[in-house]
């Protein structure tokens, strides 16, 4: 059974429809890369999956928890928070909490949301910092970390909620080129552990090496959906070919 099931997602910003009836299923432990030109709706889709953006219509089912698009009420808010707890989200601009150290950033979710004890949260955070290779930066504030380090802390912060699924919204596009690799390596290691991941990215090499599936989006539609080999070597659609040519240069 699919761990992520998205169906009938529509989203409009003003008059422009950015998502047009998107359906998507992701199996457990699958790594899916979403590509597409800017404005194709890929980030919006990812944000709709945890309701950081409210879809106008559709259903999101995440690890058996179903949330419909609709008006905000108390019960629905609670469902959305539950869904978010099971779904790690990594932002393009990291969004670390600047007034907290690396360690405190990671502890925050377990402390506040899961009501973990200070000691439990700290142990977990230390273990996760080790996992992303930043044990020596535990007491640094975000302003003193490089972009790559910040993003690795952000990944650890998301992992601290022990999510079933990780969503990445262009996790490396705000980074200097020499810092991209360290972040991708952390992501790759997670994929190898069997984490279900959906990644919006333009990193072709990552997609080729790690992704089980590549989805190409354009103009609010899923244009093509296949293995990395299929999409990169023999794209069926003209639009996909054009895009791949453009980013290959």
């Amino acid at each position: 059974m699919a761990i992520i099931e998205v169906s009938g997602i529509h989203k409009k910003f003003g008059n422009s429809e950015v998502l047009k009836d998107i359906c998507l299923e992701v199996e457990e432990s699958q790594v899916v890369v979403i590509m597409g030109p800017s404005g194709s709706g890929k980030s919006t889709l990812l944000r709709c999956m945890t309701f950081l953006e409210e879809p106008d219509a559709g259903v999101v089912r995440m690890d058996g928890l179903e949330v419909q698009a609709g008006s905000p009420d108390r019960y629905r808010h609670k469902l959305i928070r539950q869904l978010r707890q099971n779904t790690g989200f990594v932002f393009q601009h990291f969004n670390l909490f600047p007034h907290k150290t690396a360690l405190e950033n990671i502890m925050e979710g377990p402390l506040v949301v899961k009501k973990a004890s200070e000691k439990e949260a700290k142990e977990l955070a230390e273990e996760l910092l080790r996992k992303v290779g930043l044990s020596d930066r535990a007491s640094h504030y975000p302003a003193l970390l490089s972009g790559g380090q910040q993003q690795r802390v952000a990944i650890a912060r998301a992992l601290a909620m022990q999510p079933k699924v990780m969503l990445y919204d262009e996790p490396t596009s705000a980074l200097d080129p020499e810092l991209v690799r360290e972040v991708l390596q952390v992501m790759k290691a997670l994929a190898n552990e069997g984490m279900t991941m959906v990644v919006v990215t333009h990193e072709m090499a990552f997609a080729k090496e790690v992704a089980d599936r590549v989805i190409f989006m354009d103009d609010g539609y899923v244009v093509e959906d296949g293995t990395a080999k299929e999409i990169f070597e023999s794209p069926v659609e003209e639009r996909t070919r054009k895009f791949l040519n453009a980013i290959a240069i």
Partner: protein
């Protein structure tokens, strides 16, 4: 010269009242300001309108009028307060309106990714506000909040009109006995200046401390 020294103990006592008025009104104003700011940015349009009306009314009328309304006006509808509570009430309501604007600006200046990151971990809106947004606001709001406090300290002189024996009132009482307005008013002015300057030095200290994580 002798008068300056003789009047000092009495004025010092009155200065305690002045600082007390300012601090109590500030604390209450901060609480009012925080809730009004939250109402102002709430998704409920009635909360927003109410908050806007409050801020507009208070900022659009003189503090002196507000003090008269509380002290002389409210008894007509059965609410009679002593001079000091009246003064504190008027000053708090007044400061609350200005502080709410500082808070609103500070909250809005926090990157919206901070709220999103909090939500993505499963936090509720109040949790995100308390743990993530408000602590970051403090740094941005500090300069204007500090200025409001210093303004408030000086504005306490207005409650002398409702017989509160604060600094200015107590100087006027001494003048009524000694007929030395120039000397005494200058002395009082100097005492206000000492307090204002002292508090703004404290404010600078706090601002430096609050900025320590952001410095590179």
């Amino acid at each position: 010269m002798l008068l300056l020294i003789d009047s000092l103990p009495i004025l010092a006592q009155a200065a305690v009242i002045t600082v007390f008025l300012a601090i109590v009104s500030m604390v209450m104003g901060l609480i009012i300001g925080l809730f009004v700011a939250l109402a102002r940015i709430s998704s409920n349009q009635w909360f927003r309108r109410l908050a806007m009306a409050y801020v507009s009314l208070i900022r659009g009328t003189p503090l002196l009028v507000q003090i008269y309304v509380v002290y002389y006006g409210l008894p007509q509808v059965g609410i009679s307060l002593d001079p000091i509570p009246s003064g504190i009430l008027a000053l708090s309501i007044n400061a609350g309106a200005y502080l709410s604007e500082s808070f609103r600006a500070a909250i809005e200046s926090v990157d919206k990714g901070q709220m999103e990151a909090s939500f993505s971990l499963g936090m509720t809106y109040p949790e995100a506000l308390r743990r993530i947004i408000l602590p970051q606001c403090i740094r941005t709001a500090l300069p204007t909040v500090g200025n409001t406090f210093i303004g408030l300290l000086k504005d306490t002189s207005l409650v002398s009109v409702i017989t509160v024996t604060e600094l200015l009132q107590s100087a006027s009482l001494i003048i009524a006995r000694t007929f030395q307005p120039l000397l005494l008013y200058l002395e009082v002015g100097f005492i206000y200046w000492v307090f204002s300057t002292g508090f703004s030095m404290i404010q600078d200290r706090i601002e430096l401390r609050a900025a320590r994580h952001v410095r590179k």
